[in-house]
C-alpha cells in the first residue's frame, strides 16, 4: 500500500470506486509537422510538436493534460482522435489499435470518442439553428430513426446540458458563449460516446460562466459514466476537474500522477515552477515566494539537447548530464511518473 495523503475536498464518490479498467493507452506518440522544401534549400527541420508521449486513461476518470502554449497538448488530443495523422507511436482504445484502423473502424471509434473545442462558434454552422445542427448529427449517424424520435432526442440532449427547448430554435450567434459551449457539448454527446476529449473547453468564457460549464461536465461524467481527457493551460481548472494530471513541456510529458500528488508535492522542477507562477487569491499582498523561470519556452523546431527543460531549470547541473541525456518518464514510489535526472526513479520498480 502506498501512503495516500488526505485530500482537502473529496467528492465522496471517488473513495469507493473500484480499480478502473484501462480505456486508452498511448505509447510513444509522435507528431512532427514538416514544411515543404523550397527550391535549392535544405529541407527545414520538422516541428516536433509531440515527441514521444505515453500515458493511459482509465474508464470513468478525468486525466488533465496541462502545459503552456506550444507544448503539444492540443496536437496530442487531435492525434489521438486521428484528426491529425500521428507520425509515430501507438494508440490503443479499448484493446483496438487506433493508428491502424480501417475507415469504417475509424468511424465507429469516433462515435465512441468525441471532441469538444474551445470555441464552439467556429465549429457550429452559423446559418443553421442549433437544434437542426443536432438533428443532422443524429441523421448522419442513423441514430434514433424516425422524425419524431429524433426531435425528442434533440430535446433530451438540450435538457441534458441545461438548455431549454427554445434554445434549439436559435442560431449560434443568438446564444451566449456559455450557451454555445453547452450546444458543443450536446453535439458531442449526441452519438453517446464514452470518451470526451475536451480541448480548452472553458478558456474563452467569463469566470461565472466557466464555473457553470465545469459543474455541468462534472455532473455529466457521473450521470453518463464518461471518461474525460481535459486539455487546458489553466492549472486551477485542471485541478478542479481531474483525477490524474499529466504535465507537458516541449512535446513531452514531464510528470504524471494523481492530481493531489501533483498539486501538493510536485516533483519535476517545471511542474513546481508552473505551480508557483500562478497568481493566487489567498496570497493577497504576500509576494516573493516564486520560482521564477528565466527566458521563454524554446522552439519545438530545435529543442535543446538532453532534458528539454534544462536551459530554464533552476535545479539542473548545466554542464552535467542534464545537457546531453534525455530523461525517461520514470515510475516513482507513490505511483506517479517523472522525467527528471535529478529526481530519478524508484529503483524497486525498475526492471
Amino acid at each position: 500500500m502506498r501512503p495516500v495523503p488526505e485530500r482537502p475536498v473529496d467528492l465522496g464518490h471517488d473513495a469507493e470506486e473500484p480499480a478502473r479498467e484501462e480505456l486508452l493507452a498511448v505509447r510513444d506518440l509522435r507528431k512532427h509537422f514538416s514544411s515543404r522544401r523550397r527550391f535549392l534549400e535544405r529541407r527545414p527541420d520538422p516541428v516536433r510538436a509531440v515527441d514521444g508521449v505515453s500515458f493511459t486513461l482509465r474508464r470513468g476518470e478525468t486525466l488533465g493534460l496541462v502545459g503552456e502554449s506550444g507544448c503539444g497538448k492540443s496536437t496530442t488530443a487531435r492525434a489521438i482522435l486521428r484528426l491529425v495523422e500521428p507520425t509515430g507511436g501507438q494508440i490503443r482504445y479499448d484493446g483496438e489499435d487506433v493508428t491502424d484502423m480501417s475507415a469504417s473502424a475509424l468511424r465507429r471509434f469516433r462515435r465512441r470518442a468525441q471532441m469538444v473545442f474551445q470555441d464552439p462558434e467556429g465549429s457550429l454552422n452559423p446559418r443553421m439553428r442549433v437544434g437542426d445542427a443536432l438533428l443532422e448529427v443524429l441523421q448522419v449517424h442513423r441514430l434514433h430513426p424516425g422524425r419524431s424520435a429524433r426531435r425528442r432526442r434533440v430535446g433530451e440532449l438540450l435538457e441534458l446540458v441545461g438548455l431549454l427547448p427554445e434554445h434549439g430554435r436559435r442560431y449560434p450567434h443568438q446564444l451566449s458563449g456559455g450557451q454555445r459551449q453547452r450546444v458543443g457539448i450536446a453535439r458531442a454527446l449526441s452519438v453517446e460516446p464514452e470518451l470526451l476529449v475536451l480541448d480548452e473547453p472553458v478558456s474563452a468564457l467569463d469566470v461565472s460562466v466557466q464555473a457553470q460549464i465545469l459543474n455541468l461536465l462534472h455532473d455529466l461524467q457521473q450521470e453518463l459514466q464518461l471518461t474525460y481527457l481535459l486539455i487546458s493551460h489553466d492549472l486551477a481548472v485542471v485541478e478542479q476537474a481531474s483525477h490524474r494530471v499529466a504535465v507537458m513541456y516541449l512535446g513531452r510529458i514531464v510528470e504524471v500522477a494523481e492530481a493531489y500528488q501533483v498539486y501538493q508535492a510536485a516533483k519535476h522542477p517545471y511542474t513546481r515552477a508552473l505551480l508557483s507562477a500562478i497568481p493566487r487569491i489567498e496570497t493577497a499582498g504576500a509576494r516573493g515566494r516564486k520560482v521564477l523561470l528565466v527566458g521563454d519556452t524554446p522552439s519545438p523546431i530545435r529543442p535543446p539537447r538532453g532534458c528539454p527543460f534544462h536551459p530554464r531549470c533552476t535545479d539542473s547541473r548545466k554542464d552535467g548530464e542534464c545537457g546531453w541525456r534525455v530523461p525517461a518518464l520514470e515510475p516513482q514510489l507513490d505511483g506517479g511518473r517523472v522525467a527528471c535526472l535529478k529526481v530519478g526513479g524508484d529503483s524497486r520498480s525498475r526492471t
Binding site: 482537502p8 459543474n215 492549472l235 498539486y263 500562478i278 489567498e282
Partner: protein, 339 residues
C-alpha cells in the same frame, strides 16, 4: 494627494440598437503610487473606463457625459481643449494593452519606435534618445538591449513585446500607468515574470497603477485596492485583502466562488446563475438582481447607492452597492474621494 479621481463617469455609445451605457456612473480614485485593480467580466465597462481615462474613446460613437469628472492631480480632463489635454495626459498617463502586436509598428525596429517617443517627450537629440532607450530596455529587463534595439517586433516573443510596450510607456515617466489585461495573452510562467517586473517598477518609480483585468488572482498579487464592476457600475471597492477575504457584495462573492483554486482538489464550484447582461439594456434596479440569490422586492425596483461599510473596523474605504448592506448610515456623498 489623489493622483486620479474619477467621479460619476458616464461613457455612452450611440449604436443602431440604441444608446449603450457601457460606463454608467463610475467613481473611484487612485492614490499617488497606489495600485488599484479594476475587475469584472466581459461587458462590465472596465476597458471603456480605462479608455475614457486615457482619452481614447472614439467620439462618435462614444461620448463622455459633460457631468462626468476625471481629475488627474487636480486638473479636470473632461471638457479640456484637445491640445492641452494631449500635452497634459501624455506626460502623466501611459497605457499598456493586452496585445502589443496591435500597438507596435511591424516594419520599424523596436528601438526606433521607443526612441521616437523618448525624443518627442524629452526633446532629446538622436544619440541621447538612443542611449535613453537602451537604458529603458534594460530597466524592463530585456536581455542584450543593444541587440534588441535593432530588432523588429516579430522577432520578439510575446513576453518581450509586452516588455517593450512597458518600456515605451515608461519613457514619458508617467505618474499613472493604465494597464489593460497586460498579461492575459501570456503563458503563466511569462505572466509571473511580468507581474514581478510591474510590481518592482511601481515601487521604484512610485508610480500609480490602474490594472484592468478579469483575473482576480492577478489583482490579489499586484494591487492594494480593488474596484469591482458589474454592468457599467461599481458594486464594491475596498482593500484587496478585505474584499477578497470577506466579499460583501453578492456578485463579488459569486465571482470568488466561481473561481477554481489551486490546492482545493476535485470539486464542484459555486457559480453565479445566468450570464452577464447585455450592455444595450441593463436590468432595472440593482443590475445584479436577476442573478442574485438574495434578491428581494426592492432590488428589482431601486438602484442601491454605493455606501461605505460602517460599524466595522475594516478601514475607511470599503464601499458596497447592495440593499443588504442597508443600515442606519448616512450615504456617502463623496464615494470616490481619497482620505
Amino acid at each position: 494627494m489623489t493622483l486620479l479621481e474619477v467621479q460619476d463617469l458616464r461613457t455612452w455609445f450611440a449604436k443602431e440598437e440604441g444608446e449603450v451605457r457601457a460606463v454608467d456612473g463610475v467613481s473611484f480614485h487612485v492614490g499617488e503610487g497606489e495600485a488599484v485593480g479594476l475587475v469584472g467580466e466581459s461587458g462590465c465597462g472596465k476597458t471603456v473606463t480605462a479608455l475614457s481615462i486615457a482619452g481614447l474613446v472614439p467620439d462618435p460613437p462614444g461620448h463622455i457625459h459633460g457631468s462626468s469628472s476625471i481629475r488627474l492631480r487636480g486638473t479636470e480632463l473632461v471638457g479640456l481643449p484637445e491640445r492641452r489635454l494631449r500635452r497634459f495626459r501624455g506626460k502623466e498617463v501611459a497605457m499598456v494593452f493586452q496585445d502589443p502586436m496591435s500597438s507596435l509598428n511591424p516594419v520599424r525596429t523596436v528601438g526606433s519606435q521607443i526612441s521616437e517617443v523618448v525624443r518627442l517627450h524629452g526633446r532629446l537629440g538622436a544619440r541621447e534618445a538612443k542611449r535613453r532607450t537602451v537604458q529603458l530596455l534594460r530597466e524592463v529587463e530585456i536581455p542584450d538591449p543593444d541587440t534588441r534595439y535593432r530588432e523588429y517586433p516579430h522577432q520578439l516573443s510575446g513576453g518581450m513585446r509586452q516588455r517593450v510596450m512597458i518600456a515605451m510607456a515608461l519613457s514619458c515617466e508617467p505618474s499613472l500607468l493604465v494597464a489593460d489585461e497586460p498579461t492575459t495573452a501570456l503563458d503563466v510562467t511569462i505572466q509571473a515574470q511580468l507581474l514581478e517586473l510591474l510590481s518592482g517598477l511601481r515601487r521604484e518609480r512610485k508610480m500609480g497603477l490602474l490594472l484592468i483585468t478579469h483575473d482576480l488572482a492577478v489583482v490579489a498579487e499586484l494591487c492594494d485596492r480593488v474596484v469591482v464592476m458589474y454592468a457599467g457600475k461599481v458594486v464594491e471597492t475596498g482593500r484587496v485583502k478585505d474584499v477578497f477575504s470577506q466579499p460583501a457584495h453578492p456578485y463579488t462573492r459569486g465571482l470568488l466562488g466561481s473561481l477554481p483554486r489551486i490546492g482545493s482538489g476535485r470539486r464542484r464550484l459555486a457559480p453565479i446563475v445566468g450570464g452577464v447582461p447585455d450592455p444595450a439594456g441593463w436590468p432595472s434596479g440593482c443590475r445584479f438582481h436577476p442573478r442574485c440569490p438574495h434578491a428581494w422586492g426592492r432590488c428589482s425596483a431601486e438602484l442601491p447607492s454605493l455606501r461605505r461599510r460602517g460599524g466595522r473596523a475594516h478601514g475607511e474605504e470599503w464601499t458596497v452597492r447592495c440593499w443588504l448592506e442597508e443600515e442606519p448610515l448616512e450615504p456617502t456623498p463623496d464615494v470616490g474621494k481619497g482620505p
